[in-house]
Symmetry: C2
Subunit: 216 residues, 2 copies
Amino acid sequence: MSKPVLHSYFRSSTSYRVRIALEMKGITYQYRAHHLREGEHRQAGYLAVNPQGLVPALVWSNGTMISQSLAIIEYIDEMVSKPALLPKDAAGRARVRMLSQMIACDIHPLNNLRVLDALRERFGAGDSAVASWFRHWVHETFEPLERMLRESEDTGKFCHGDEPGMADICLAAQVTNNKRFHVEMDAYPTINRISAACFKLEAFQKAAPENQPDAE
Amino acid sequence: MSKPVLHSYFRSSTSYRVRIALEMKGITYQYRAHHLREGEHRQAGYLAVNPQGLVPALVWSNGTMISQSLAIIEYIDEMVSKPALLPKDAAGRARVRMLSQMIACDIHPLNNLRVLDALRERFGAGDSAVASWFRHWVHETFEPLERMLRESEDTGKFCHGDEPGMADICLAAQVTNNKRFHVEMDAYPTINRISAACFKLEAFQKAAPENQPDAE
């Protein structure tokens, strides 16, 4: 397999998820940065690659483009089996997908750049209102997520057992994102414990926003 | 397998997705309605089932609870193999997950009831501003989605080939949801063709909002 191209932005939480998965699997890739703040992802060249104009997108050597971070991660997991990012059993896979989608559907889509910009443009939201909006949706999901992780016997050192997987990838990327908006994390000891375990891993460190070529 | 319990709300687009999948697979289930407008999903009894307090959630006879519609659908697909809701090949699965997540991550989370209510409460958004917000995020994704469906050889009678699957489920539920906000659909002939094919199928009809016990 020749090197796939990852279209990314260092600060993009969803790009971070895919970078972690690539690092965990030991897949080397070409990094192509798109500066979201300057609208580079909405230019014709990139729209020809990914019509949605969002990052991340992963383009394989045969030309296949996959966008949407969880779709990319599941594809990577099916292509390179070890280390497994989803459990072997159907119930375990369902739990990991559920935990992942709690973050990927119920937090991140409400808090990404294009949405925060829309709040400013459409409703005149200022920095304080935008930050309050961001934190609100994190807490709405982190409260039940903390409880579900704390109360389940399936939770181990990581979200599902003692090895990191797709849910941990989503969790760590969200916890990283939260720091930009100073989200109070004291109420989430289990989330803090698991994300701390993630941040000790080389794959999560290599993939971190501050270690990307386009980091500011 | 004794009957699973589906926690649902007739008008919830994500509940609709799961109902379609259950009907397609011929899985009979108990229907438990939660009236979102009256906050029934945020009461202690339901929070003990699903700490997130959202619908849908599917509870199996062994007590296993799965929330998040795409996680539920993939679990159903793994438990009951026919008809398949995802393709057999990894690239096909990635494409179907990508198309599904374009709707499930980039449209629906921005347009569900709790978010529209938050726009009213936090920013004083009125009916017109809320409807404009809803339509904006639909068009932002439907424009590239239309192009991706139209230009791909993988698209057939349905989103991926000639049999309906997970992407069609997401698409049809979103098209149904759009009607409440009068989304202009003339620019989306491929989406219209595929959703019309879906609405002819018995599973999609049985699962439709207006055919649920709690329909108003």
